[in-house]
């Protein structure tokens, strides 16, 4: 492969490297590249469409003949439908399709049945007409209760509610205990974060239309290819007979990376009705089934030596992503700092609640909150300014340079851009009189 010389790094720390670039690839950008688009102030190409209302989102699409889909959802965290009769719904005026989806839902809000009708009111009337008798079954929605040996099994059978363990290469607990005892400063803190919902303004939704064996689905999705693949699997049809379209989307934040349930429901209803069908989550369905960021409980034990160097880091974490989805949050713990003795162990806990979805760097929001709070506290225990503590311990040369540059700009209140200059001046006015204890900065 041809070699190209590149200058990379950051101000004050550039270096030259030889990079191998496959023949035919464009030359990579480096510090000397003259860029005309990156860094330039350019209006969005879709700007005029978005400010005039011309931009069409999935929820705006309404082809001629389109039916409205409605979904009956479980009112219980775990129950069995001992009777589920769609007959009365099918007989109502305007109802063109009805589907049974699940007789044993395992969280409140889970889709149980679906209908398609000429109007939203007819669809609602059809859902109200479905006869269902529920036998409520044992369930657990509190993650601490779910860990008890006698707790109802969320997924049934012998599937355990709690799964996890220590990561590879983790130090053993005894070594952590010894290092903590030897540390000249240490903290032992527990942080709790709640489940958080994405709350996309445009809910998950899909519009499905068949022409013969060819399916077209307009979907509010971040990933048209994964929706196509999910539909092909779910419907047992070739992927090349499925076309998924998304021009604009009203927010996803990770919750629309996989195929949502509305795509499959809309496609099946449309097949049965022989008409296009649009299924949109209403707000309640969106909040209960559209995905969430798992909760976390994080116990952090950190120790530092006399020089203010981290000597031991120990993270015990757990969290629930409802009926599925990992709740791990150790990303920041494993990447930001290094210590001689490190151990992280995590437990995912199943509960009878809506499934977690990716949300803005999964795990990092919870993990960063807890870790950086604990680092602040340890710096205070060690009698070291929290910024100085990070400059001594951060594993990344680049990040240390960023901290120093940020501190310099805040201290001088200067910046190349006027707007940023204002921001930094405001920060400086709060920074200069600060004392090093967290929470002591004047408001």
């Amino acid at each position: 492969m041809p070699k190209t010389k590149l200058r990379i790094g950051w101000p004050g720390n550039f270096r030259e490297i030889q990079a191998e670039i496959p023949a035919g690839d464009p030359p990579p950008w480096d510090a000397d590249s003259k860029l005309s688009v990156v860094g330039a102030r350019l209006p969005r190409v879709e700007g005029p469409d978005k400010v005039t209302g011309r931009a069409k989102y999935t929820s705006d699409m309404a082809p001629a003949g389109m039916l409205t889909g409605g979904v009956l959802r479980s009112p219980h965290a775990h129950a069995r439908a001992t009777a589920l009769d769609l007959g009365p719904a099918r007989k109502l005026p305007g109802v063109k399709a009805a589907l049974e989806l699940e007789r044993e839902p395992r969280y409140a809000g889970q889709a149980v049945a679906a209908v398609a009708a000429e109007s939203p009111l007819q669809a609602q009337a059809a859902l109200d007409a479905i006869v269902v008798t529920w036998e409520v079954l044992p369930h657990v929605t509190d993650p601490e209760e779910a860990r008890r040996p006698d707790a109802p099994r969320v997924l049934g059978g012998r599937n355990p509610n709690a799964r996890g363990g220590a990561s590879e290469n983790a130090a053993d607990e005894a070594a952590c205990g010894r290092a903590l005892a030897a540390a000249s400063a240490s903290v032992d803190l527990t942080f709790r974060t709640p489940v958080v919902e994405h709350t996309c303004l445009e809910s998950h939704g899909s519009l499905a239309s068949w022409e013969g064996d060819a399916l077209t689905v307009w979907d509010s999705t971040q990933a048209v290819a994964s929706v196509r693949d999910g539909l092909a699997r779910g419907l047992q049809v070739p992927a090349n007979s499925v076309r998924v379209v998304k021009e604009h989307m009203g927010g996803g934040f990770g919750s629309k990376l996989g195929m949502g349930e509305t795509a499959l429901i809309a496609a099946r209803l449309a097949k049965e009705a022989g008409r296009p069908v649009r299924v949109l989550n209403d707000r309640k369905a969106e909040q209960t089934t559209g995905g969430n960021r798992p909760s976390s409980v994080q116990r952090l034990r950190l120790g530092a030596d006399k020089a203010g160097t981290l000597s031991v880091m120990w993270l015990e974490s757990s969290g629930t992503g409802g009926v599925g989805g990992g709740a791990g949050c150790s990303g920041p713990f494993r990447t930001l700092y290094r210590a001689g003795v490190m151990r992280d162990e995590h437990t995912d806990i199943l509960t009878n609640a809506g499934r977690a979805q990716a949300f803005r760097a999964p795990g990092h929001v919870q993990g960063m909150f807890a870790l950086e709070s604990a680092i602040d506290a340890l710096a205070i225990e060690a009698g070291i300014d929290p910024l100085e503590f990070r400059l001594r311990n951060d594993a990344s040369d680049l990040r240390r340079a960023e901290y120093a540059e940020g501190a310099r700009r805040i201290a001088t209140g200067r910046s190349v851009r006027r707007a940023r200059g204002r921001m930094y001046r405001r920060l400086r006015d709060r920074w200069t009189p600060r004392r090093s204890r967290p929470g002591s900065t004047p408001a």
Partner: protein
């Protein structure tokens, strides 16, 4: 902003009424027998005709008596610029102007808008020439996904027509009824301040 009060119903009254309808099996017109409700002459359960004035043009729509102004704009008239997001008067994505004042169209019955002037995002630009607020939103990159943008712009237009000399404080207060989940707030504020005459 007390948008629902402009239509004569509080938010709580409105949700109470529509909620009771949903729970009583009346949705879909399947009312069955029973006494007609006491009080003013009832309308429905069939479709009713609502005459609206939208962006200066008279528009008739046939709808259920319980349909909201947002339902009629989007489903009846195909004006999909105003979005439905929370459907309960909290997020502002459905903001339109009713007699010049910003209202949440999900909290106004279509009937309440009869013979009143409705303005939507579709009526702002003159052909390809954007309204100054629309232009400012593009220039300041005051959006990402754009879903809340029509509502944001209608709130801003309503504010600036009432108070062309709005100060930055007026703008913050006037725009506080519109949520942006992408959090473009700083740029939205900058865009509206750029059009406002008050400094």
């Amino acid at each position: 902003m007390s948008t629902a009060r402009d239509g004569g119903l509080s938010r709580r009254d409105f949700l109470g009424v529509t909620g009771a309808l949903a729970g009583s099996g009346l949705l879909g017109g399947a009312a069955g027998g029973g006494e007609p409700p006491a009080g003013p002459a009832s309308i429905g359960p069939g479709a009713i005709r609502v005459g609206l004035r939208v962006n200066g043009v008279p528009r008739d729509a046939d709808c259920d008596a319980r349909a909201t102004l947002l339902d009629v704009l989007r489903d009846g008239l195909g004006l999909t610029g105003a979005k439905q997001a929370c459907d309960r008067g909290e997020c502002g994505t459905c903001t339109v102007l009713l007699d010049g004042r910003p209202v949440y169209a999900c909290m106004v019955l279509a009937l309440q808008a009869r013979n009143r002037e409705v303005r939507t995002i579709e009526g702002l630009a003159k052909g390809e020439v954007l309204h100054p607020v629309q232009r400012a939103f593009v220039e300041h990159d005051a959006f990402q996904c754009g879903f809340c943008t029509p509502g944001q712009i209608m709130s801003a237009v309503g504010l600036l027509e009432r108070a062309p000399a709005a100060t930055p404080e007026d703008v913050e207060a006037g725009m506080c009824g519109n949520l942006c989940r992408c959090a473009a707030y700083v740029r939205i504020r900058d865009a509206v301040n750029a059009v406002a005459k008050g400094k």
